[in-house]
Symmetry: D2
Subunit: 464 residues, 4 copies
């Protein structure tokens, strides 16, 4: 981490696993594994392979110098092979003749990219799993805590904070599952030589490819994929989806932390998110940073998808156009997940505020339940008219709907009955049951459903 923006955009462990040193080591790991694979296939003496591998340490090379030299041929593998060969030659001239044997630059770059994705993606994955666990714990803890459900950013019916956290956890877990699938089943070795025929290895090409895959614990592909970029597209899509799941939760946190909502606070400790001059402000800095990272993903994914169209046996530009967006996408995704994990760790739920926000709409959200309760006696039309009038009266006068209905329905329903019908904690449907599915709570446990209106054929609470 040396950069001005790293604190924000390279948060978490993925940054160090995708920097210049990580790339360089991945490239060298491929060259070393190739030497060993040649030996495994009987094409090279094992001690020669060891001689090659001994020179494959990133610290012995200067990424800046290699970068400058890369301008000549258009990629950094060309000067790296030159340097590597020179270093091997010092120790074992015969081994030097077998450096990079059978391979083309793209073989090494692509395979190194897969290693990088496995390594950085692996840490993103474990961060994701830990984050989802944390959110599941929140879901368990707040399983029965009512809060306003909101549609189009307007309060609608009640839900629970448990269900909300369970929704975040589930989205992140499914995104993690997809990422895991790509990381452990789709990342494949690239080994095809100049045009994908491995001609210089005669009939030994496939054996070396298989040995290389085994050495690096990567998938062996059906055939070289120099211009079939489906694997990159799948990886990009999995990362883009992780960013979507992160962004959704982070956006919710930012919204719930609004001064006027106040249901969540990021408690960042001294110097974090607060302001000495504005003590009332509690900026959800971690969630904001997660959002800032996540929002960069769609454009990067689009670049990688567009770059899929590559010419003939190896592309003129489309391939090169992948390197930076892929690296950046890994970094941004890693930082997005790390920031959301930081945010989740800092999160404090204000359950009183959740309740008072719910109460602020004074039972209006649940007025349909009163209609349903009255319908059998008064007929549906009359029941609906009575309740609608009461709602309007409550809104216009600023009074609570309970109070208005207690007067208007005197002799028909008691105040207590009306209050029970309008109690949000009593109208949470399957929020608890759904939460339990995510948290893995005992299957038998059911949500806090008091009684159902279902036989009545209640009008559907559509957000029209």
């Amino acid at each position: 981490m040396t950069g001005l923006f790293d604190g924000v955009f390279d948060h978490g462990p993925a940054a160090a696993l995708t920097d210049d040193t990580a790339w360089l080591q991945a490239l060298l790991d491929v060259e070393a594994a190739l030497a060993h694979a040649l030996a495994d296939s009987g094409l090279l003496a094992p001690e020669r392979a060891d001689a090659v591998a001994a020179a494959c340490t990133a610290a012995r090379y200067d990424p800046g110098e290699l970068g400058r030299a890369a301008a000549g041929g258009g990629n950094p593998v060309i000067p790296l092979v030159r340097e590597l060969t020179a270093r091997v030659r010092e120790a074992d001239p015969e081994a030097a003749r077998h450096v990079h044997r059978g391979a083309t630059s793209q073989d090494v770059m692509d395979t190194a990219a897969m290693l990088l994705a496995r390594r950085a993606g692996g840490t993103v994955l474990s961060d994701l799993r830990a984050l989802a666990d944390h959110l599941r714990a929140l879901a368990r803890a707040y399983r029965d805590t009512p809060m306003p459900g909101r549609t189009l950013l307007q309060q609608a019916l009640p839900t629970t904070f448990g269900a909300v956290a369970a929704g975040w956890a589930n989205g992140l877990s499914e995104a993690a599952d997809q990422l895991e699938h790509v990381l452990y089943h789709r990342l494949a070795v690239q080994f095809g030589g100049a045009v994908g025929t491995l001609a210089s290895l005669g009939r030994d090409g496939p054996a070396v490819a298989a040995a290389l895959a085994a050495r690096l614990d990567l998938t062996e592909p059906v055939l070289p994929w120099h211009t079939d970029r489906g694997r990159i597209a799948e990886l990009a899509a999995a990362l883009g989806r992780v960013c979507g799941a992160v962004g959704t939760a982070a956006q919710d946190i930012v919204l719930l932390a609004q001064t006027e909502v106040g249901e969540l606070v990021e408690e960042g400790g001294p110097g974090v998110g607060g302001s000495s001059t504005m003590p009332h402000k509690r900026n959800p800095v971690a969630a904001v940073s997660a959002l800032a990272c996540a929002r960069q993903a769609p454009g990067l994914v689009a670049t990688l998808l567009a770059a899929q169209i590559q010419e003939h046996q190896r592309a003129a530009g489309g391939w090169h156009a992948e390197w930076l967006p892929l690296t950046d996408l890994l970094r941004r995704t890693g930082a997005a997940v790390a920031w959301l994990r930081t945010s989740a760790a800092r999160l404090r739920a204000d359950t009183a505020r959740m309740r008072s926000n719910l109460d602020a709409t004074g039972g209006l959200a649940l007025s349909e339940r009163v209609t349903t309760d009255l319908a059998p006696e008064l007929g549906r039309t009359e029941a609906h008219r009575l309740v609608t009038d009461a709602c309007r009266e409550a809104v216009d006068s600023g009074r609570d709907l309970v109070d208005v209905l207690a007067v208007n329905l005197e002799g028909v329903r008691s105040r207590g009955r009306i209050a029970a019908l309008l109690d949000p904690a009593d109208y949470l449907g399957s929020a608890g049951a759904f939460t339990d599915r995510v948290t893995g709570a005992a299957a038998g446990r059911t949500g806090p459903v008091a009684h159902t209106d279902s036989e009545e054929g209640a009008p559907t609470p559509d957000e029209r």
Copy 2:
């Protein structure tokens, strides 16, 4: 198909499965299935469900009118439910009270989108499979046909047309596998009611959701996914990847059909791709159209990925922003695949041209084989100097390398031996073996590898 651009962009069967009528029918199918699911769960008499279902025929509704009415509430489900309820009421007033019960607009839209994706995606998938089969047949037929391999659009070492077609087929097959996975394992029913709690169904919500999923043959999700758009992102990514695989093959066809290359021709029949005034032109119109469709995918995918960040229990804009890009992405992908299938069906390979293009570089591509052959006798350095000089002489004088070397190596190697070393058909490495893996040819069969240079530690044919 009614539009000016439909011939180009709505080619193939996916167009009709994603038009207004298809959308309308999908929405109605969800409402009908919901009525049946309520019945399956004991919440509605089966004959009432039948009464609802009886009104669920697209032809009875006017999409234009519904579209206009949708402006009021922001989505077409609201007026559709109104119209549907009115039609059901005519036949069965009691049944009418149960229309859309428990559901919110987004439940119906999202589930309908899944149905649409299944239907249109299903036809895309079978087109893809048929296309890959066709290309595999090409790969079998041209397994041993040498053609120039090209990197950075420059001729490099030889490959075979079989290997090229196998590469296209494999990319398309893997893209089809991913699409199939999404279509049959990830498309899930959406059913959560206003805020995802299914409150109006009391404790019966999950049972109805399960019945709905069974009725529509869609996955039952862990919990409602109103603002967890991972499924849409996965679907979009799978389609975007299909477009990449299509685009790669289409681009290659366009390049191989160039006047100066001429290795492939799209034979479109009278009036297709030709020109009466320019009889030498044979525009690969189908491949061009496939490319035109495929290139629209990355931007549409990016829109869908960016729309993943949705607020609270139901989003304000992000959700609505999905409808058209998702529909368009299904259409464009369907058309891209259909066009490439058309192109493949029209394709004629000019194997003589492949050979003459190969010969045009006069053996220069294979000069390294001569070096390798000479090295044991002359020493590597001297061998390399000799061959490099001959190459330069050949390029400068415009003579064939065989002729130059026959003179320069007189007494060292016969003309015949030199010609054999420089024969592209004899330097195809594992092209045949790789092709066989894709076409499923007998595992024992091996590629046309005559003899290997591998013990020599040949210099690597990197495309520097």
Copy 3:
């Protein structure tokens, strides 16, 4: 408007100006103008040009049939010219021989696209201007109405609703200026013939091109721009920017309309945005729809920017890939602007709520002013300590800062002085002056700045 989603996505006048009929008429207008341009250049008798123009009425052609026929050659101009020629031939066989003379399909498509952009863009532009006027009127009306300024969605210092509306108006006006520049200075005629040389017109090409530009009131380009798509990129960018300006205002409206904020309401009248079952909900449907449209722009712009890279004299796919995204971008932008105009017309500001939201943070936002006021007497450090302690006490106890400070500063500052220092209406800086710049109020008028702290070197209110 015939589609299920048109009510939402084709709101406003741009939709009808970009539909199939509009495209068809634009294509025919180009053919008619070309005939006249040939006449203007002395290459065709004027009455022959009239005969061509007489057949150039969209109603005489079937877009669906042309669309189907377009599949053969890859674009709809080819069958249109065939049909047009046939119709002209009926009336004037000699004139028929001059239909489309000198032109290639792309000349007609590109020039028609320019006409379409001018026409649909022109209506977007006047909608934008009217919208900005409306917002400027709001800015004038609420010039001095304090409301909470919010950063990172947290209340910070006060601003005015006037300044907020002025900011929206200014962003939209600048976007309109850029769009106007593109529409009236950058939309150019395309006329180059098969490869941009106008060879079939001999040396008359440039004269015909100039006459064509004059006839259509489009710019005459320096040379044909078949594969130089800068004009399309500029148009796309201008539309994408309009969508950004619309989206920003729409997003703010949605946020300010939240149940817990309530500073703005979209009053949509019966059946619009409300809910009979949830009378407290007032969905800002128009702003939400504006957002939904605006969010589709970046992906469409990216497609058009990526399509700029076009091959040789006319592209294989990149050009075709522009037609739908460009049309969609015009439609989405038109609808976004129209929806925001609808939203603005429905908007009601709740100034009491603005004030009570401000008061809810009890003066904390302005605590720095007390520090500044005390510093000369008590020294900066002591002043800061005193005020910070009071802020913490107020937050912890839930009391108003005025009350806490009135006690803590007894004998140092009067309650009235403290209240004045903490009055948000008295700390609006240049909000009024900035608003006046946008509304064009008398230059002499200044904002409600009571007294300045500037000599004191107040600590900067950075949002740390």
Copy 4:
């Protein structure tokens, strides 16, 4: 330049003007200018401003440390102001109290971004101008050199290499004009304080803003633009368009350099683009690298356009999401232009190959001219039949069209007349005239138009 990929992606001078040091210096330049602007407005003694400015040297700060500290508040300005204040305090404690006065972090970041854009964009602009000049020189030199015009990558009618180079130059010049407009008229100072009211400066805010703009030679905006990101969108669009113009030319170069086309070669000198083992390969590495850079632009622009939608007075994530994409877009554009300039400098046109490629289609492209020539004598229908038959005969038999027609038209037209009609150098229309418009050649000079067919009403050479 320290990175592994810098040689490819940070080619040219823009890289050094957008690195960490450049960013840091730009931030400090804003703080220094702000101190001077306060002095200019009479709010600070000039010597205090000098004391602040004296500490504003990037070398005195550690970007890595600032970056790490930025994580706390979400942006690097917060720790930078802390560090800067500390350094100023050492020299002048009173001056230290005025550091960053009136400003918020975003004011400094946004204004610094404008400075960075001006500086890096300025060097991109002069590279662009030099590149366009170079291409104009090519256009002049090859004004009358015929080469095949190609549509859909098929040979169509002839054009000239001069016209091709003029087309590239014109596209780049127009892109440069747009970039210049943005750089010198749209880059504005940002100065609004916490919520855009400049409240802490009382009524002096606008004066300080004006002084700041003057000091930095940036535009003074109508009002603070914290959440009106139109300027960023315009800048991004201008850069995205430059990349399109670069990509188009680079793509053409790559295509013209194909082994089978060979009309252009990048002569890179030893070690550049060539291969010791494949002496026939001449990789157009510079054009490929230009393409690789240019193709990354659309995704980055889309990210910036999508980030335009920012909340309230300062955004939660959207703003932060701009920093890296904007920096990367400047770098990629700079590298794209620099690479194309490198490519252009290396370019060698093979005019003999242009001619032989033209001749390879044996006059078929110009067959319409023979029809036109015969029509007055034989009637149009008969003329067309005769020529079409001859074309088919030529294609089927592989003979030259001249030879076929010389036989078939014996007695009607001489072989010489036929050869003249089919001579591509004689059918270049306005290629020369268009080229002259771009190169600024004497207005009187006209293209090589021998005689015109125009009175005949030649059939239009549409690329059907």
